[in-house]
């Protein structure tokens, strides 16, 4: 039986359909989850997709982080369930304190949309184990508030614990501290990144099919009986 991967829709989510399609193309079963439910429908993993939930009111991801489904996601993450936050999903994970730091307005003040090269700096997480170490991948990036910030002690801790999972290569599109594009929690089951791997799953529409490997990683992690350290 294929892995069941939930994709949460919040009011203002945009990329839930693309995320569900990526899950399907990678060989898993996408399960639609609703922000207002206290029910993860027993999925094996969860994706928080991109978009502008609640119109980015208050702060990006702040209101969604307090939604009923997030109570369940936080509990599940604590039990080792793989959770991936993409763009607005990454912002939600930070606001929910599943990941440290915060995403702020791009240094340039411009909304940036480009095909972005990333380096896989940690290929031991639940969402990156199918990549080679230091592999370069190209996926779309599109955000206005992707500037990752945290205090120096937190940044040092992330670096020392190998929790910088994705780093921008060649161009830092938003002013993120230390070129950080994505990070993970201490146990590697919760991963967040600003770029959009779910838009890089078919030759016809994406710059690569590198995004499929994130889903393949989760499937492998689940088949391996849990999360890698």
């Amino acid at each position: 039986m294929s892995a069941r991967i939930g994709v949460v829709t919040f009011p203002g989510t945009l990329d839930d359909q693309d995320a569900a399609r990526a899950v399907q193309l990678a060989g898993a079963e996408p399960v639609a989850l609703w922000h207002g439910d206290h029910d993860l429908q027993a999925v094996d993993a969860v994706i928080l997709p991109g978009g502008f939930s609640y119109g980015d009111y208050l702060r990006c991801g702040a209101i969604s982080a307090r939604s009923p489904i997030m109570t369940e996601v936080i509990t599940a993450a604590g039990h080792g369930v793989p959770v991936l936050g993409i763009c607005n999903g990454f912002q939600i994970l930070c606001e929910a304190h599943l990941l440290p730091g915060a995403l702020t307005r791009n240094e340039s003040l411009h909304f940036v949309c480009r095909d972005q090269t990333l380096r896989i700096e940690n290929n031991r997480t639940a969402w990156t184990n199918a990549f080679e170490s230091d592999q370069l991948i190209t996926v779309p990036l599109k955000n206005g508030e992707g500037n990752y910030v945290a205090d120096e002690a937190t940044l040092d801790q992330l670096e020392n614990e190998g929790r910088v999972v994705f780093r921008y290569v060649d161009v830092n599109p938003n002013g993120s501290r230390r070129d950080i594009a994505g990070i993970c929690n201490a146990s590697g089951n919760v991963v967040g990144l600003m770029p959009h791997p779910e838009h890089a799953v078919e030759e016809l529409t994406g710059p690569s099919t590198d995004g499929l490997k994130l889903i393949a990683s989760a499937i492998a992690a689940l088949a391996g009986g849990g999360v890698l350290a």
């Binding site: 208050l58 702060r59 702040a62 307090r66 930070c94 606001e95 440290p100 730091g101 915060a102 702020t104 307005r105 791009n106 240094e107 340039s108 003040l109 500037n147 910030v149 945290a150 205090d151 002013g175």
Partner: protein, 111 residues
């Protein structure tokens, strides 16, 4: 009736690109000598009933963890228990009016 005003500002060490853009605009419309602009948010919360210590503690909890993100922002809270709208409204009106006049004056200088 009480009015609670929460001001949220980015911490000093966090870059504020919006404030920087406003600072640039001020220079372009002829206001010289501006050394820094920081942009923040203000929440005005009207509450029916008494603001006792429990409510105050609740308000601080909300201000610290929902209205502001403690990773990047600080907040200041002021409580007006004398009946709300008028004093805070007056303060706000005066402040906005003064700013608008200054900008209008600067615009006239440009023309």
């Amino acid at each position: 009736m009480a009015r609670v005003v929460v001001d949220v500002m980015l911490k000093p060490e966090i870059l504020d690109p919006q404030g920087r853009a406003v600072q640039g605009a001020l220079g372009r419309i002829g206001l010289t000598g501006v050394v820094d602009v920081r942009q923040g948010k203000q929440f005005v919360i009207d509450i029916d009933g008494e603001i006792d210590d429990d409510v105050l503690a609740q308000l601080h909890e909300i201000a610290a963890n929902l209205l502001c993100n403690p990773v990047i922002e600080n907040y200041e809270m002021s409580v007006d228990v004398t009946g709300g709208a008028t004093p805070a409204g007056e303060h706000q009106g005066t402040f906005v009016g003064a700013s608008s006049d200054a900008v209008a004056h600067a615009n006239e200088g440009q023309q």
